[in-house]
Symmetry: D3
Subunit: 247 residues, 6 copies
């Protein structure tokens, strides 16, 4: 394999419901795919009970049909973003994580060897599935680091963990200490957003989120910087950075 | 000037007392100098009253003689680290910042156009000069960004601001979200430390600080990383990072 | 139905042990009943193991007899306050919430359609049953909002959630951002308090709590206000208020 | 005076720079004016140095001309909103508050007897003038409550204090615990915004802020509420509320 | 000097207004006096403008007469408690601390060599004089530790600093991590309280505070402890304890 | 029993993994044993999967052999420190606590009647077993206080709870409000540390931790104190202290 085709790394996204990764991390996924990363999304549930109001208002809906519709939307969005996606189908509202699902996620860590991990905020008074997803993403990461878990397998390093933006950031004690410029991939994220037919009312909302974070990101590099930023995603990095320079 | 000699940037260190920059940021200074940065240190005071106990125990000491001794030590340390140094001589215990000194620091921002700024923790119950220094470092940075301050001068961008490690980190609500690997320049930092003849009791203390932060930094890149880290400095970044990738 | 008999709404109180609602929210219950609200109390346990010390010191006591005594006291207090009460009998010290109990509380939300919800502080180092009760009160509220839970049932809106006052407020990170004037119903609350024969040592304590909160409430409307406040209850509102004016 | 013309109260807005009140509290001002409140704005400075970049780029600009332009814009915006406005002209970047200005604000409290007070967030790492304005708004409020200050004058009560939304909310530890519905007066706020010719780049930004807060406010009253909310302003109430019911 | 007359130490109380030390630390003063400590109170102001409402309502009052009345009350209370008292007369609402007063307090530290220091909470949205008093108490303590301040004088050690209880504890981010049993000296504190003729409405309030803290203190030593506690004062210790055992 | 043989009390240490008690509380154990305390350690797991990397790299390792090796090390360390030790063998990475284990710990509380309790920090993003151990230590302590749990048994009082130092203190929101001087027993702690053959890389790290905390403890008693402190352990006391004097 020559250098030009070598992957710069991999990224793991742990999403409580099947649409969360689109609104909150779609830009990061598309951007890293463009940079050559292998990106993998794990959807713990389809969000079939709590985040599919529009679907439930259709006649003749059943849980299975809602799940199927949600799965299709999420798969399509993942395809557009260029990512792999895996569905755990654990149920939502409330999400509960079985031991089997827990170790399945550990296995994914071991197999993927992610360079970074994205999941929900650690607190969310509007949605208790979200912090649980992050908790599991963090705890399984630690198990995957343990030499005594499935000895012989390659343990993982210490990929940084980021919380992506919740719906009402300040209520969730979520502060964006990291802005990712997604201007170049915004059109892709928007296409992925438009796959979420059941939540059309959120399209404009998350477009504005990206614009606001873009303005803020620009302000944080300063007025004198040449680079323009129109769209950005905010992240709260939970793990310390180890760097070689501070600029 | 050809590309190979072009500076990658500049760094500003705002130190309440004349020795603070050595213990707390000596590694960052040496490391960035080695990378080609122009580094500038501002000492708001000499620490002549509050941090020169050993000198005061010598016979015949006067305030001027203490200040002179402290200045010499600091100058020598700065020379070893490869940085410029400027003394504001504002007095310590308590430090008070005049308007004149305030605008002198604004001018330094405008002139230096720093790529990053280092100063004290924003809280320190053991030393009220420290948070004041950081407050002034932050407020003058904002003035230097204002187009209406000395119109015509080049305004500065938005250099990231970092708080370096205080003496008792947890009491100061200081959390290191950034570790800087200083293994390669540790010998230089140690030489600079040894210039501080009046505070010899702190040499071993800050050597151990660097070792502990080194172990922690290593843990934060993970056991699987090839790179070894023996010495590090911890920083608390106060301003959000704007990045192109999350790995 | 004519306007004068229309209920202004309903309120739900989730109490870990069978006496908590009296000390902590008895005034709110009585006050809202007087205003025409339908008030419903859910007691997750009787507090039979952890909050019945005096009963256990009687000869011949058994768990069932303690529970029976506690139930009678709580029923009597609820009657005095004018509220409905329902006992889940989940056990205490430690309280554990089964799936069945969880969904029973969801059903109550759906049926009652509460205008507001009261429960414990989210943290309490003296009593781990308390934060668990609040956690369940919050999570079931979210399930009751989900269109996909028992589709066809009427979902609930977004009733504000309040934490009532814990025994040692500051240790519980509980801050009263809302004071409810209970002067007019104080005599009713005191009667309800006196039903708690097993905890007579707390009568004076919680009378003083009401007096102190009364003084504080008065101070927060200002010395110039005509209204006097002698007794109050403090609440920590956890959810944002949506208002039409700010006065 | 007959009941229909009686004022329901008065409101005080303390703005560090002459445009802050428009972006951050324009909706509250217009809404309360419509409800009959007398609204008064105090601008501590014109924002002439730090928030007039566009003006400074015009040829032949002087400090006085910038101030004059800013004053005109602010006066026009206040007129549109229906509020009184008073300029303290204390200078900005940095703002410094003299004793004279301090007591002038106390006098305004005594004269206006405000029903509520709006000012900046208590922390803002991007702008140190903002927290200073809030600090002064709070401290002068307390002086105005003191019977021994200008004895004989009527003291004020305890008007609630709100922090309006800063530019980068999460960085300022600002959390909106109160949403004000401004849908009905949005067109007026937008007109006032458009007076700020020197900061046209912010028009769209603050329109989106109002839309996002509108969506969030709607979510906080619940999907089942009849009322629609398209535009809102977020506030962080700093003082406890004293209420008669909790719904 | 024989052992029976040796003082176990000294204590310093820094009070913003002349009555604060009575309500908030009267028990600690009396208790330590009884244990043989020399206790010294510094009143930065008389509280003549902000905490003398009742006096101002008397006919013919002037600032001097209010101050005189407040001084007499405070002197009498100090006498009853057995403490020395010194008045700085710096004015209140707002309190401002001159350089002269600052260094006078440093001198008191040097002279008294306190074993512990008591002052206000570090935050108080109802009273900005209080946190300023604590700030000055802390900063002067640090100056008194500096060998270069008045070289030749005996520097002080590191006396622990405690914040006594503010009027509305939770609003002030004040948490009592230390309870002092004042049961034995309660009658003395109550006598001192009754010297405050101008604030009679607070007598019952602070009696109840002592009772509530007594109950809480008792709970924190546990039901099995033989010792009874009827009255206590809560303190927030700001500096770490260095101990020889953990029981 | 004569006074010279009376035990001053007992101490309980709840350790998630079998080596934690050595690094983090070895000094406290040895010091209290020397003072006559009966000290008991509970190891919830052997740390066989997550903290035995070196052992796993040996050929032919199995889970049982790792556990056996870890048990021997821990037993030897406990013997050196002079403490009793009990192994719950609940598994690690992840630790999960069964009802049986939960009540076994309650029984130990009842039997031991501890004077104080030591366990992990309440948060640790690097290790989720640690906060779980502390949670269980706290919740079982409360059950052991309940008169209705195993009526007839002697309930416990309210032993203070301390969190010992985690590996990366600031990341764990752990602040040492208590320093224990372990200078006199340092040699014993070091011997116990050297039993941990599988984690030799940590010996020097935790020796430096003890030295750093020693310097900090010394600073917190002040330069004027006669006592020297070379080694210390930091603790975060979670429960309020009830004291008779404040010096």
């Amino acid at each position: 394999m020559n250098a030009s085709t070598a992957s710069p790394g991999t990224g793991l996204v742990v999403s409580a419901h099947s649409a969360d990764f689109v609104w909150r991390a779609g830009g990061a996924i598309a951007s890293h795919v463009r940079q050559g990363y292998r990106m993998k999304i794990v959807c713990l549930s389809y969000g079939e009970r709590g985040e599919s109001a529009k679907l439930w208002r259709k006649e003749g809906m059943t849980l299975d049909r809602v799940k199927e519709a949600r799965r299709e939307e999420a798969q399509k969005a993942a395809d557009i973003l260029g990512a792999e996606i895996e569905f755990f189908d654990l149920g939502d509202y409330p999400l509960r994580v079985t031991d089997e699902a827990f170790y399945r996620l550990v296995d994914i860590y071991r197999d993927l060897q992610p360079s970074f991990v994205l999941s929900h905020s650690t607190k969310d008074p509007y949605n208790f599935d979200h912090p649980l997803a992050m908790h599991v993403a963090q705890e399984t990461r630690i198990i995957a680091q343990a030499e005594g878990h499935n000895p012989g397998q390659k343990v993982i390093g210490a990929p940084p963990v980021y919380a992506f933006e919740p719906h009402q950031p300040e209520q969730c004690e979520w502060t964006p200490n990291t802005f990712l410029d997604i201007t170049d991939v915004w059109d892709i994220k928007r296409q992925a957003i438009e796959c979420m037919a059941g939540q059309e009312h959120l399209w404009a909302y998350y477009t504005r989120v990206a614009q606001q974070r873009g303005v803020q990101a620009k302000r944080n590099i300063g007025i004198t910087a040449a680079r323009n930023i129109e769209y950005a995603e905010g992240y709260m990095r939970l793990t310390p950075a180890v760097v070689g320079d501070l600029a």
